[in-house]
């Protein structure tokens, strides 16, 4: 019989609100994401100046993950979203669209890959672990248990931080949670559907 695995702590960010395990820990209404992220960073007392160089997707993923991680664990990161890095792709595209105002920037280009947000999290928390970024049309409640549970059961990871991190045109939503041997709800498609 397959070992049961569970949904552990979770953090959700949307509509100017950060909720940890269902409880609002921070909110700032009517702000652009950049302003919201800055205030959230201060509230969380992160002291990590690299945060300000990140693109919006990375800031979102980073804020959500920071409530659930500690340094030096071997937690794998399995994240997904709908728009990949399109939010930053559009910023970069605008910088090459006009040949009269052509200013492609390496600092923007590097963020035109969705997995960069996982690299940012790994650097901060010194995670020598697996990072994998997937793209789906909508929150894949079947995918997360199928893949994360397999990683744990086959010994590729002790536990997994699963994350949905969507960012496009100021519409954002992060739902990040731990999957592993600790928790109340089993890590199944049915339970994930109840959570979102």
């Amino acid at each position: 019989m397959k070992e049961a695995l569970y949904i552990g702590d979770r953090c959700e960010i949307r509509n100017g609100e950060i909720r940890v395990n269902g409880e609002t820990v921070f909110s700032a209404e009517g702000e652009l994401f950049a302003d919201f992220a800055k205030k959230a960073y201060r509230y969380l007392e992160m002291d990590y100046p690299k945060f300000f160089k990140m693109d919006k997707l990375s800031k979102l993923a980073f804020l959500a993950a920071s409530r659930l991680l500690s340094e030096g664990s071997d937690t794998a990161l399995v994240f997904a979203n709908r728009a990949a890095s399109l939010d930053t792709d559009l910023v970069y595209e605008a910088s090459i669209a006009d040949k009269e105002a052509y200013y492609p920037s390496p600092a923007v280009f590097v963020y035109t890959l969705p997995n960069i947000c996982l690299g940012e999290i790994s650097i901060k928390y010194k995670l020598y672990s697996e990072n994998t970024f997937f793209v789906f049309e909508k929150f894949p409640s079947d995918f997360f248990p199928a893949y994360a549970n397999t990683l744990i059961r086959t010994g590729k990871a002790e536990d997994v931080l699963c994350g949905w991190v969507e960012m496009l045109h100021e519409e954002y939503h992060a739902l990040v949670y731990r999957a592993g041997r600790v928790g109340t709800w089993e890590h199944t498609e049915e339970n994930l559907k109840k959570m979102i």
Partner: protein
């Protein structure tokens, strides 16, 4: 166990696997010079399709490339049982955002959905977009899912195009080489980009190769610079070897990443040296295809599977004199050799690394 059943590719060297490898065996490269123009304000080298690959009606150019690579595999081995389509790409239909819009084809999910419907897959496809390790990481993902019995078959298809978007970005990074790339060479000075697609069928039942081990560990060091110690790659290879139950020197060859940037190739040399793999034959296939981004890991796996099947080691095109600080057995000449085990590695932006070991069964 997890097996490779079949594989194919669609590249500027040839319309299918055989045509591609036959030309590669003659030392032919797909890399050409392009003049300054609409993609880049300066001349550049790249491996691009000569014919404007005619898209299938209703599909984008990239979707047609994916279909071209996967079609023969699906034809020879139609999906049976619980089958998944896994698509690997870094930039998908990125050309669709020109003008600043986000039409449906700009999203990778619907893009993969079209390809899945074309072949009649009923499950929602998975898309893996994990920078330059995507193609080989997709094989590791397919291996785990079949090994765990979640899927009976995983059809992996990977593709990326050479676009103004990526050319200008690599150019802005000053990462493009002044000529065709020269992996591990003293005179290497950067990447040559390329476009291609490739496909592999991974199955839980039987096949001609076994996927013997894998590892995929982040450097936790820098988002665009490789680790100075090769830590993530070192750990990835260590895990893959341990799972395969092999000592490093038992590998018959390594198809490495070898982008021909100063830092990537040096990082790989350090990681391979730390593992005592200095005498294992190693190549980078970037000299034939350029760096095909999200396709590269899968394309280079496909070519290496064929290399093992034919019993021929292919030289690292563009390499003349060592330009890395540790000794590596870079392949200079085509050589016939019985091949049992080989390893494919890749590293990429975001600090990602992946190593997968294959064992020939027949």
């Amino acid at each position: 166990m997890s097996f490779i059943v079949d594989y194919n590719c669609f590249t500027p060297l040839g319309g299918d696997l055989r045509a591609t490898v036959d030309r590669l065996e003659q030392g032919i490269s797909g890399i050409r010079r392009f003049e300054a123009g609409k993609c880049l304000p300066v001349p550049y080298y790249a491996s691009r399709f000569r014919e404007p690959c005619e898209p299938e009606p209703g599909f984008t150019r990239l979707e047609s490339m994916l279909i071209r690579a996967l079609a023969p595999v699906v034809e020879r081995h139609p999906p049976g049982g619980h089958a998944l389509l896994l698509v690997s790409t870094t930039k998908g239909n990125i050309g669709a955002i020109r003008g600043g819009g986000t039409p449906p084809e700009a999203f990778m999910g619907p893009m993969a959905g079209k390809v899945a419907r074309y072949f009649g897959f009923s499950e929602t496809p998975w898309v893996l977009s994990n920078a330059c390790v995507s193609g080989i990481l997709a094989v590791a993902v397919a291996k785990r899912m079949t090994l765990a019995g979640v899927y009976d078959q995983v059809y992996v298809v990977a593709g990326d195009e050479v676009t103004e978007f990526v050319l200008s970005g690599f150019n802005a990074f000053q990462a493009l080489g002044s000529g065709p790339c020269k992996p591990y060479d003293k005179n290497r000075d950067g990447v040559t980009l390329g476009e291609a697609s490739a496909a592999v069928l991974v199955s839980a039942r039987e096949g001609i190769f076994r996927v013997a081990g894998d590892g995929a560990i982040n450097d936790a060091n820098h988002i665009s610079g490789p680790s100075r110690t090769g830590e993530g790659l070192y750990r990835s290879i260590r895990l893959a070897l341990d799972e395969a139950g092999l000592e490093g020197p038992e590998l018959d060859f390594i198809s490495a990443h070898g982008t021909a940037t100063e830092y990537n190739d040096e990082m790989e040399a350090i990681a391979l040296d730390r593992l005592g793999l200095n005498e294992v034959a190693v190549n980078s296939l970037k000299g034939y295809f350029g760096h095909t981004l999200g396709a590269s890991g899968l394309l280079e796996t496909v070519i290496s599977l064929e290399s093992a099947r034919r019993g021929i080691l292919y030289p690292c095109l563009g390499y003349e004199n060592s330009g890395v600080s540790k000794p590596l057995a870079v392949i200079r000449q085509k050589e016939e050799r019985e091949i049992r085990h080989f390893m494919k590695t890749a590293s990429g932006f975001g600090g990602a690394n992946t190593a997968v070991i294959f064992e020939k069964l027949i």
